[in-house]
Symmetry: D2
Subunit: 345 residues, 4 copies
Amino acid sequence: MVKVAVVGASGYTGVELIRLLLSHPGVVITCVTSRQNAGENITAVFPSLLGRIALACDPVDPALIAAKADFVFTALPHQSAMEVVPELLAAGRKVVDLSADYRLREVSVYEAWYSRHTSADLLAEAVYGLPELYRSQIAGARLVANPGCYPTSVALALAPLLRAGLIDPGTLIIDSKSGTSGAGRSAKVDSLFCEVNEGFKAYGVASHRHTPEIEQTLTDLAGAKVVVNFTPHLLPVNRGILSTCYASLKTEMTTQELVTAFQQHYSGEPFVRVNPAGSLPNVAFVRGSNYCDLGVVGDPRTGRVIVVSTIDNLVKGAAGQAVQNMNLMLGFEESAGLTALPVFP
Amino acid sequence: MVKVAVVGASGYTGVELIRLLLSHPGVVITCVTSRQNAGENITAVFPSLLGRIALACDPVDPALIAAKADFVFTALPHQSAMEVVPELLAAGRKVVDLSADYRLREVSVYEAWYSRHTSADLLAEAVYGLPELYRSQIAGARLVANPGCYPTSVALALAPLLRAGLIDPGTLIIDSKSGTSGAGRSAKVDSLFCEVNEGFKAYGVASHRHTPEIEQTLTDLAGAKVVVNFTPHLLPVNRGILSTCYASLKTEMTTQELVTAFQQHYSGEPFVRVNPAGSLPNVAFVRGSNYCDLGVVGDPRTGRVIVVSTIDNLVKGAAGQAVQNMNLMLGFEESAGLTALPVFP
Amino acid sequence: MVKVAVVGASGYTGVELIRLLLSHPGVVITCVTSRQNAGENITAVFPSLLGRIALACDPVDPALIAAKADFVFTALPHQSAMEVVPELLAAGRKVVDLSADYRLREVSVYEAWYSRHTSADLLAEAVYGLPELYRSQIAGARLVANPGCYPTSVALALAPLLRAGLIDPGTLIIDSKSGTSGAGRSAKVDSLFCEVNEGFKAYGVASHRHTPEIEQTLTDLAGAKVVVNFTPHLLPVNRGILSTCYASLKTEMTTQELVTAFQQHYSGEPFVRVNPAGSLPNVAFVRGSNYCDLGVVGDPRTGRVIVVSTIDNLVKGAAGQAVQNMNLMLGFEESAGLTALPVFP
Amino acid sequence: MVKVAVVGASGYTGVELIRLLLSHPGVVITCVTSRQNAGENITAVFPSLLGRIALACDPVDPALIAAKADFVFTALPHQSAMEVVPELLAAGRKVVDLSADYRLREVSVYEAWYSRHTSADLLAEAVYGLPELYRSQIAGARLVANPGCYPTSVALALAPLLRAGLIDPGTLIIDSKSGTSGAGRSAKVDSLFCEVNEGFKAYGVASHRHTPEIEQTLTDLAGAKVVVNFTPHLLPVNRGILSTCYASLKTEMTTQELVTAFQQHYSGEPFVRVNPAGSLPNVAFVRGSNYCDLGVVGDPRTGRVIVVSTIDNLVKGAAGQAVQNMNLMLGFEESAGLTALPVFP
């Protein structure tokens, strides 16, 4: 059994990592950390875990973590991750970092959208952890930058179109909607039940930090610079992202032709499901699972294609994908610990 | 006091009409009809109305309705409305019809997207009931076709841009999200709580019946044929539509310039509120009210404008707009019965 | 027009007071205060109010408030209210206080369940603002202590039974469920959307501070000391309290006999609606309104009566009842500003 | 691998059985049936299952089912189950029936609360499938009557008190709240999203059919006839039951003494978790899992004990308990297929 640590265990991504790792056949959680709950048992923070784990939260101390675990998940806010990751790597630990700190290859882009980067030397080494696109690089990596939730939903939606050159990248518009767990577990008025429930809003229009991450991956896929409009919205559900993506087709294609192209592209992928023509995904059908569901429609009236993708933002959009990356990095079966079915309803 | 009838009172639009009309200073409800609840008191159908009205539901009989009321709201499914509206008009009653039956000017378009039209002779006379665009025609009409909920949210979002020729209409993409009351009150598995709650999906992609209605109004505004992509989604909230609209600007404009243009366009309108730059609407802030809130952002990276509009689909998107139309048709103050503030939270 | 102030305007009770007072025919809001939003326009805090009011938030300064307004609503946390109420009264202003500070007649009870009382001299003068029980005293008061939300729902549910001596008070069990707006608008992890949504829990079991307030009123009604079990629960809805009350009947009564007794007891009350036998209330049917709906069932198998009461915790449970009290204190029609119908769905 | 059938697969209990059984190491689903979806692939009914099963729905034909499977779960409405169970048993199949048809030992009680019983000869043989109370009998049974969701939550809450004679059974009051999946997946107006969301109501007061089932088990536990008040309420969540149970203690006990008694009673039980003193359960903490969480409080002011229990109504309240029973009947590890952790948030 590989000893693993969950750094930043008191957030929603942290508890989801614990949930998944406790069902994993090849690992044992030996360390959980939390700044605000240091000293408390993690079951007091999350009673859902009662009877399944009994660890007190450690402070966020890289030496202590490296002493307790061989493999580390860092689920910290951006800026905080880069304060601990270098030391963990230096101690010989492999790391999946779930923050934004190692996702962007260009330090200047990071500094334009986030803030100063103090660990830029690791950017060249870090591998972007989207297994469907970068599987072989992930397997050999020491440091994997786990993708953002929105970028995961978008990259999987558009890869078949961009790889095959079927669309004009200049026409791409991405309208995304995320469940509220994506906003994290810190106490903010904007995330209160009464502010979110029965509400719906756009936010970060033309300015959300996931934009450069999306563009970096789409640029890889298109082989040429891609610039997009990306608009996130806040959904009154706990879990789930749905991205609706629009682009002009270079040549007309029917819905059935598009579906077939998607099914061939993702043939053999364990976690991508392509809906049959006429059927479209729903965040409810991936809840609690590592699936990304895709639906695609061609519109002969406008010459556009519409792709709808859904993931559970805490699983394929965060903790599940992190475990998938760990599986690749440690040579486990890629789906180990990730076979739970969606919980519907 | 003008005697009014609500035909189709047992649906969500019906009960919302009753709620608003009971607060209207110039009318009295003298007739409510319901096929499935005929004979029952409307307060047994909707206990929210207890103590405020005491009418048994009549069957849907135009002669009976015309005998009891001077002004009629028909809140029936499409196809059913055209079975009663001609007789009501013939009896000298004024009508606001909330179905789709009289919204499209071209009978061929109606028949392509809906089904056969048996009352096409009234199409030329019917006025499309969006007061912000067609106020003077409404005032003189016998028959007003109350707009669809999605088309209302879209037309108000785009009117300032299309009227002023600021965007390329060929680039228009409309991504809309509607609360579940828009799906009506009939018993369907798809509308069950457990199917909708904690879920989110697109539907009617590239095929929704509101598309030609949207295009008809946008064509009026642009002065040239407009074809759009319109994608509706189902939100797990009771009330509210949010439409996110994308288009390429003909010349670059800042967010502040766009906001100013919108504020000037809607200056004096009682029910359209334009958010200041940097602020965006939320369906929660219009709930229960007749407001349409608008937010606008210019994106210098892509040269596009993004407009976000919110309405309560049952008020400005249905019953409230119908009362606003009645006010114009009967010479009441336009905001009579519609001054209630949004209910937040 | 009477000039009124809303002290503590940035909470949910504050915005609800503003919503109701803006529809009131006899008052004008001349002052709103907020500690954390001082200087901001109240419409920036609550965009639902956009276009209907334009006041900057003042700091909580009694002299300033008294200078701007003739009548004051204090919607502050307990302990904070008693810091401003004495000075407002001394300045000749009438006050409805929505905190717990003046609800309990015995200072020792307040100090046992809350903390030290620094304004105990006003307790004898303060009138408990439940109009259905204390209407005449309210009309003559300078200081009205607006009841808690739970106690309102419970007192109205049990008054007909206790006044008529139909039940054994020693058997009273009260199981209450409240919407989340009752927890206030301060940023706490426990009130986050993801903690509350899809959840349900009991809290404050055998220890909630509304217990002595409930017992004080029930003791008044019974004419003898009443001690109860009161268990609150947190409902994943924005608004609404439902209390299910159980007691042993002294002599057997049918459901119809009980319903009749309730209807007679509340005959003429503008804001209490008794459901017919066989029908039970739902928080959805009072949402946004000042109604308290009651349903009652007799159980011949156990000899108990079950009363179910519903209110909107922000209206009849707070702001609406406060306006009702103001109406009595200022000689307005008791229902002025409170005639809006419930918003369903 | 044991071949199992899920009869009534298109309901919420059906899909939950499939979800759990697909993760079970010792069984394979060889037959699913559905009246309304006969002929359709079950993945078309529930896209959450896409890629994990590919079976067309059979009609409900006992001979066909018995030919395809060795073990059968019948998840049919009451009255329908008794039409197929006898034939399945006669064909030598073991059955867990999730309807109410075989839960009540007395045919007269069944006929008083439900309707005529046509399979009464099997009542003596059927074992009530609550493993924590009847484990050994279940292991040897051919036919297990899976308990109702409410009765499960209540029996586990009260067993430690009744077995030890700590309370007066005549004072028992049970106030339960259930998520909406408990109402099933048939198309009814009362179960529509807009009717349930933001609502809360009691139903079946003093008349719910789970009452005699609850009383039968509590009578077993108490060793003397128990009659209770049981009031169910409808919660606007998909999953979860919380029961709040009140009774008078025979002798005063502190909360800590009560918690200790509960922990000792359930020591070694794999699916019952007792919260430490001061902590209370939340339906969110058992979602998707087979756990029953219990919290207990003693109230020295009233001499009563309050027990709060939570389960996921579709798991421990239905499909999970059914799998637990199957495990006992077939000699599998009792927790096989049931080890998934709760999904929070």
